[in-house]
Symmetry: C2
Subunit: 484 residues, 2 copies
């Protein structure tokens, strides 16, 4: 028998260890200096070219790859670790997550099933989430990559629970009454995408109009359900938002829960970033009813600041959750003892069989900081958004889109004598200028047919002073654009 | 305005940095000592109890959490980093992935879209995969959490491409002819699960019988398609396996491709661990036809040894892939310049909007080792499995289930005078005993109604000597069980 090639382990562990420590220092420097320099730096053309090399056939070695990582990748991050990143709903991350992910990579656990330590850590996280949302101990949950997959799992369970026939074996049978669901026009697109993937179709998701606060109009919801029942369709779920992505509007979750109870519908909460606000002592009364949901999807990597990716699906009825997913062939059968023992096997609760140890960073984060400090930062962000709203209202050259209700402030630069189209164009330009300048990174959105600068604060490093810097800069760039 | 709480950054960066380095050393010690000690250690009851603490309200601090991680979590890993882990299809991981994941956590990039460095790294990985499988430069792909999600994406694209009506808007309409697909009885359960999630139903996946080598019987496949067409159903895809999970059987991919071409069906390859074998110079002739697939799903975290989780979906036609998933609302619109520029936005190619930087560890791994060294280890594992097969055949007290074709060897301990049930029981006991003893961790499976010890070698640390240790130990534990 011929000699074998060596393993993929380093030939020289001492040199490898030395290099790994240098890389850790670079990682920590990045975290410690998060507020230094620009929020975002465009990837230079020569770096883009360098990242088009042919497939590596032979080893380049650890040192060369590390050097390239430091010079070509690390300097061009998304920017969300910076205190003035306000674009989209990105979390900030924490240095603690760096430690947790380092250890998770070393353990290389697969949490699909079996009996080993990582599963007990995930079970601990699941139990904590039940406590957070006042769900019963008999509920179930799963750490997933994010709210999109969480929504896919929750609505698969909802479809199973409410179809009224054996949908797992037979597939969808619209002739039994088409399964239809409801969410507001302001709901996140992951709901529509889930309806598509599950074979229900976009058309089966009814877009319910919103009231002037951008929250779902519950009278319109009731009417839509009645219309569907009259038409022979089969309503099966309503999706409420504790915080919409455009404006942070809060649906009346209690009201939706009551409608769902009256019609035997599954009540799903799309809590991607908003669910954590419901955990804040100062905000929680506004989210009453979230504890009545049949399922909640939310992200740890957004307003809770665990690094990407980490989301969660919480489901009230473990039996329905498991029955909607279980599929254990011979090679996935549990044994009475040994490594193949253990229960539950998490692969029975979602689409993934191999499952990385993302639960570790969640566990680490909740222990390191405690939930109180995490929700205190949520409160801070809401105060910052309100402060920005006040700054905007105090200036005649800035206009607020809608009152700030949570952590999102949509506003724009305005000036006399400019038509609607010019104002849109100037504000789109301001946002791109701010990003390219590196001072701040807000995004844009459209509300009531107009373009707005959207400032979303899900950032534990942001301070009130950053709001002042931003408002001043928007006016400055606006005036410059107007003069141009 | 009241003072704000501090950020989630450490109060004392020097102490934090010191602790992070100590944790890195523990991570590297774990990797360097991967072959020391038992493969697997059961989680002690006191650790299980400790992992049931109440939800942390106040901070426990970095040091305490690190100490608990070292004492309660790290010692109880799954075992797949050990050279004698042969259970299920788990990859080994590498020390290089520890560095890559450390940096990914520090960057905390979100690869859903926009214009920043991480996306160029993922695009580089996608381009490399096209090269690996001889797909055209116009193909598309996505780094995902694993083959389960990759399959979901591939078959969503297949459904979109072949439905013959606007399935995204209208949902499934079985009255137009039920969409049906085909795979072998030995195919992995993620195919059936995907049929369920997509609303097609388990029944719509036809289980085609296998030949004596456990590969799909193509005559039976043709007959099943003909039967479905005659019955008014709408065949849309065939899923082939380059290596089945039970025995490593190889479907005739060229033959399946031809049948798909003749009937305008989508040809999907479930290459979870087998696809990498098609990249080996010494094995590739056995996988002819894989380059004709419409889509390939496979894992980097299995036989390619990137740490969990990292899989991939490769799709021949970028247009169909994108059209099956695109859904960009206002807050996801691209800008002409700044951070919101860039193309493609990966959120248009799969269910996830927020996407972590798992592409970094894949990029790092392929550069660090080169594809040749990675496929050399695949060859080694096949030689080891063949060697184990030879050892089994040389011993009267061991029996081989089926000839070793790849990296899987299913065998069992046998002895005169034992009935079928007793032999099953003894072998199930041997596997649990081996695991609890810590010497090795194979798994079990059932073939032809009998229980077999299943040795799956997707492990870059395994050597031929480990095969001898294993064969001897199985006989030893078998004799002990028989005597008991």
């Amino acid at each position: 028998m011929a000699d074998q090639t060596r393993s993929l382990d380093p030939d020289d562990w001492v040199a490898f260890r030395d290099r790994a420590h240098k890389m850790l220092d670079a990682a920590l420097d990045h975290a410690q200096g998060s507020g230094d320099g620009p929020v975002w730096t465009a990837v230079p053309d020569d770096v883009k070219t360098a990242l088009k090399e042919p497939l590596p056939i032979t080893p380049q070695g650890t040192d060369q790859v590390c050097d390239e990582l430091l010079s070509r990748v690390l300097p061009y991050a998304t920017g969300n670790t910076h205190p003035r990143f306000f674009g989209w709903v990105h979390g900030t991350g924490t240095p603690g997550s760096i430690i947790a992910d380092t250890m998770a990579a070393a353990m290389n656990s697969n949490l699909g099933g079996r009996d080993h330590g990582a599963n007990y850590v995930e079970q601990q996280v699941i139990d904590w989430v039940k406590t957070l949302f006042k769900f019963p101990a008999t509920a179930s949950g799963l750490v997933v990559s994010g709210t999109s997959v969480a929504t896919l799992i929750a609505l698969t369970a909802a479809r199973y629970a409410k179809a009224g026939y054996d949908v797992r074996n037979q597939g969808l049978r619209p002739e039994n009454g088409r399964l239809v669901g409801y969410t507001s026009t302001e709901a996140h697109s992951c709901i529509a995408r889930t309806f598509d993937m599950l074979g229900l179709g976009f058309d089966a998701l009814r877009s319910i109009p919103v009231d002037p606060t951008y929250a779902m109009d519950l009278a319109a919801l009731k009417q839509a359900i009645a219309d569907d029942l009259a038409a022979g369709n089969r309503p099966f779920c309503v999706v409420g938002s504790p915080a919409t992505v455009n404006t942070g509007a809060i649906d009346d979750l209690q009201g939706i829960a009551e409608i769902c109870q009256a019609h035997d519908l599954w009540f799903h909460v799309d809590g991607a970033f908003g669910a954590v606000a419901a955990l804040s002592d100062s905000l929680k009364t506004r989210f009453r009813g979230i504890e009545l949901a049949d399922s909640i999807a939310f992200d740890f990597h957004k307003w809770m600041h665990v690094v990407y990716d980490a989301g969660f699906v919480l489901i009230r009825r473990e039996d329905l959750h498991r029955e909607a997913f279980t599929l254990r062939r011979e090679y996935l059968k549990a044994a009475p003892r040994g490594l193949a023992a253990g229960n539950p096997w998490f692969c029975e609760y979602g689409p993934e069989l191999s499952r990385g140890f993302r639960a570790l960073k969640v566990w680490f984060h909740l222990k390191e900081h405690g939930i109180k400090k995490i929700t205190d930062k949520v409160d801070d962000n809401c105060r910052q958004a309100a402060y920005l709203g006040a700054l905007v209202e105090a200036r005649p050259d800035l206009q607020l889109a809608t009152p700030v209700t949570l952590n999102i402030c949509c506003f724009r630069y305005v000036a006399d004598g400019l038509d609607r189209e010019s104002i849109d164009k100037i504000n789109a330009g301001i946002v791109m200028d701010l990003q390219e300048d590196g001072l701040a990174a807000p995004s844009t959105t459209r509300l009531a047919g107009k373009l707005w600068i959207r400032v979303n604060i899900t950032n534990h490093r942001t301070t009130l002073a950053d709001m002042e810097l931003l408002a001043d800069a928007v006016v400055r760039w606006g005036q410059r654009a107007q003069g141009a």
